[in-house]
Every structure is written in C-alpha cells, then in structure tokens.
Amino acid sequence: MNISNDTSNKDMRDAFFDEIYLSSMDNKNIVVITNDMDIFSLRELKTQRPNQFINVGVAEQNMINIASGLASMGMKVIIYGIAPFVVYRCYEQIKFNICSMNLPVTIVGIGSGLSFAFDGPTHHAIQDISVMSALPEMQILNPSDSASAKYCSDLVLNSESPFYVRMDKGIHPKIHDLNKYEPFKIIKQFNNNVILSSGTIINNVIDSVKDKDIGIIDVISLKPFPEQIFDIIKDVENVIIIEEHSVTGGLGSIFSDQANILNLNFNIHLIGFENKQILEYGSREWFYNKSGLDVKSLTKSIDNILNG
C-alpha cells in the first residue's frame, strides 16, 4: 500500500492510523481493537495481519478488558471507536484495568466535540475530556489537523502510558508544519492577549481574530498540560480559552486548575458549551451558531473581552 507522507489532504483519522498501520507491519506486538468501526487505513491491516486486528463487536466493556489483558503481556494496544462509546460506556474498565494497572493502551475516540452532530447527543463528545482527565494515569491528546494527528501516533507508539486521543474526522485545514510531535504550538504571535484553543474548532478561532492584536496557541497535549505555556503567556492581560467541549472539565478547567496549583493568576475567559444536556438534532455549524462557537459569535465575544 502506498502511503503518502503529505498529510494535507488526508482525513485526520487516516493521518493517525496510516502510521499505526505502518508500525504494525514492522512490529507484531501492536494490536488494534475496535467496537465495529471502519477506518480506511486499517483495512489493509485487517487483511494482512488478521491476528493484530480484533473487532470485538459492539461490546465496549469487553474491548477495554481484552486490551488491558493484551497490554499486560507486552502488547501495544490501540483501541478506537466513536468517542462517547469508548469513554463513557466502559469508564470503570478504563479506570480499573487500564489506569490502575498503568498499561500502555491508547484509546482513540473518534468524533471529538460535535463531529457526529446529526447523530444526536449520544454521539456527542463534549464531556469526554472532563471524565478522562479525572484518571490520574491518563494522558490526553487533541490534535487539530492531520499533521498533528500523524505525530500524535508517534508519541503513543513510543510511550508506556495510557492515552486518550480525541480525534476529529474528515479533512480539516492545515494548521501546522510539523516534523515531530509537539505538545503545543503558537500559531499566531501575541502581545497582550492570547487565546488557547484545541482541536479543529481552532479554525473558527483563526477566522475570528484575523485583524486583531491577539495571539493563538494550539494545545495538543491537554494532559499533562504543557507548563511551558505559563511562562510564555505570563505577562498577558487576558487569556481566552475556546474549546468544543463543555466549559466544565475541559481545557479551560485544566488550565485554571493547573494555574491555581502553581499559584499563578490570569484573567481567564472560558468559551465552550454550557454544562447542560443538548437534546436537539442539527448540523455542527448550527450547534456552533447556537452555542457561540461560530466565527461571528466568537468575533463578538473576543471583541467584548478585549474592549472589556
């Protein structure tokens, strides 16, 4: 199979899983497990290395338990499925068998935020960071484009920790020029004000601050939070955190908690989903509009903060 190194026209999932596929062909100890979800770049693995690809069917608790059993014997296990089902349905299995055993299992939750907007609230992942970040051993990655997704795979394949990778689907605008994994990236320089964002919502952020004197940092590693960021932004007037997640328990909470622990004071503004159930159906854009995450609303909110 020909796999292009250029990720600019790749679905984020394929950018990540192409690397997993290639590594799996070299390393027989890599095992991929899914709850019956199709990923284009893994079809070859399924055919060529059927022993290294396990479809457990729609049985997420079992999926996590099997993954942890495999990992305990030295296997590197990558699990993937639609985010809420691999996060909430089997939370105790993750807490107990992966985290309390500190096993190198990576859970890739496909469909960050409202990627599966039309499929309804059961398919939304807007509290996933909140629950995963409560697990002490769990590291959390949230790539924002195909390049960052690709290099997240390097990190998880070469680490011994449990990981949750929050993965969008589809092709998204290129944000980064990367040649290795980086936990965060300044994508717009700043003076007095900075926005921290994460995931593909950053495209709306970029479009909403084009002519403004405000910088943007893309946070790819949500946990551990890259503390170097605190140094870089220590003199700013306002920190605005924009995320496609509930304002409770997401990047904003992680940032605020960590700043508190380090006794750092920032003027923090959180923009995300309210902490309430979404029981409606519609497109991702429609939800953005309703929730203040579309470009127009973001522009207005940011102006209000800057003109404070």
Binding site: N51, I66, G69, Q93
Partner: protein, 262 residues
C-alpha cells in the same frame, strides 16, 4: 495426594481464621469456599505459576477472598511474614489484591472484569505462539455482570483455548441464596454449544478439581468449570450461613472452629 492437599487446605483455613480473629476484619465465608480451588492451583499443579519465561496468569476475580491467597503466597515464600502480618493495618495488605504484592497478577475489587482480561491474555498467548494459560476464579454472583457474558461470547468467537474460568459456586451472595437462576440454567446449555469445555464438579474434591483442570488443558477449547462449593466450608456453624460473608468469630466460636479444622 488428596490427603496431603486436604491437610494444606485445613492449615490455610486455620491461618485465615487466626488472622481474621486477630485483625477483626475479613470475608471468611467466600474465602473458605474457594480455599480448595486455590490449593489445587498452587499445590496441586493446576497453575504453572513458577515458569521462568511464560508462567500462567491467574486472576482471583473474587478478590475479597484475598486472605487465602496471602496465606498461600506467604507459605510459598513469595511474601514475607511481615507483609502477611501487615494485613488489616493502615498501609498494609488490604481487603483486595493489587499488583504491588509479589505473586499477584492483577488488581481486584470490582467484579466482572477478569474474564475479559483473561481473554486478552489468551489472545497474547496465541499471538506470541506460546502456551501459557489465563486462569480465573470467579464468584457465582459475579456471573450476573454483563461484561462476563460479553467475554464468554468473545472467547467463543475467537476460540481462545488458553483460558480456564472456574466459578466458585457457593450459592450465597452478600444478601441472597443464589438458586439455579437464569444464569446457572443457561450456562450448562449455552457453553457447550458455544464451543466451551464445560464441567460441573465438587469444588471440595481435589480429585475432581485436578482432573477437571487436566481435562481443560487438553480439551483444546476454552474451559468453564462450575465448582459447587459451600460458603464457610470447613467450620460447621459457618457453612451455608449468609452472616459469615464477613462476620468475625467470637472467642468461643473460634475454639470450635480450631477443633474442627485441626
């Protein structure tokens, strides 16, 4: 052999009882019901725990029976007397197992996980082309967990032959007598049809336990053994009594128990 194992079992029950009496905490009933199973594992050759390269992996899914395992691990020299004596102390050995204890393969405390974990271990045995087994002892009440059934189905579909599940069928949960409920009506019918080696045995007969495990190992199928046991086995007034799930004996009760077990 049978006599020798019986003597070991009684010694372990005695030691467990001494510890519970001294520390005033522990699950005697469900521990005593599976002592003979554990003794068969560690002294009867059913568990290859000391292989240098690829030992069998063992999960005591009903981890609340940990005290019997602590006593066994101590007897085998895997944990020190001091460690055993730390049972019940702050920061010492506790009411469930964890992998910080030498000889313990998995953390316990939450039910319904071990069979799926064993499926993963059996997958690895197949992938690595090795022959180690994943063995677990489950409680009977635990078989209500949906994750146990997810694992049963998966193990069938993937023909994970390096796996043995043993159920300590003592028929008492914390609050109920578990009669032949739907779970235990279904198991003997469903499992053979799903390609499992299925057997019901007397869980206090070493001959039956050991021969069932030997049959399991050559069956070339995943194995499910329902061991019919007695909660509180070995002490007359504890046998089949709900209250001995986690009661502590009085001095008089202890004297009777000592007499019966010696």
């Amino acid at each position: 052999m049978e006599n020798k194992l019986q003597i070991i079992s009684n010694q372990i029950r005695l030691k467990v009882l001494e510890i519970v009496a001294a520390k005033k905490i522990g699950h005697i009933g469900g521990t005593f019901s599976c002592v003979d199973l554990l003794v068969s594992m560690y002294y009867g050759g059913c568990l290859n725990y000391s292989d240098d390269n690829y030992p069998d992996k063992f999960i005591l899914s009903k981890g609340h029976a940990c005290l019997a395992l602590y006593v066994i691990l101590n007897d085998l020299g895997l944990i020190t007397n001091e460690k055993l004596d730390s049972y019940g102390q702050d920061g010492g050995l506790g009411g469930q197992l964890d992998i910080g204890i030498n000889g313990v393969d998995w953390n316990t405390g939450s039910l319904g996980h071990a069979l799926g974990v064993c499926a993963g271990i059996a997958h690895s045995s197949k992938l690595l082309n090795k022959n180690y087994k994943a063995i677990t002892i489950l409680g009977d009440a635990e078989c209500d967990e949906g994750s146990v059934w997810e694992a049963i189905l998966h193990i069938s579909d993937f023909k994970l032959t390096n796996l043995i599940a043993i159920v300590d069928r003592n028929r008492l949960s914390v609050t109920e007598v578990i009669k032949d409920n739907a779970v235990f009506k279904l198991l003997p019918v469903a499992l053979p049809k799903l390609g499992w080696f299925y057997k019901e045995i007397d869980g206090h007969s070493f001959t039956e336990i050991i021969s069932a495990i030997q049959e399991s190992k050559i069956a070339n199928k995943p194995s499910f053994i329902v061991a019919n046991t007695i909660k509180g086995k070995g002490v007359s007034y504890m046998e089949n009594e709900l209250k001995w799930h986690h009661s502590v004996p009085t001095k008089e009760q202890l004297e009777i128990a000592y007499k019966e077990l010696r």
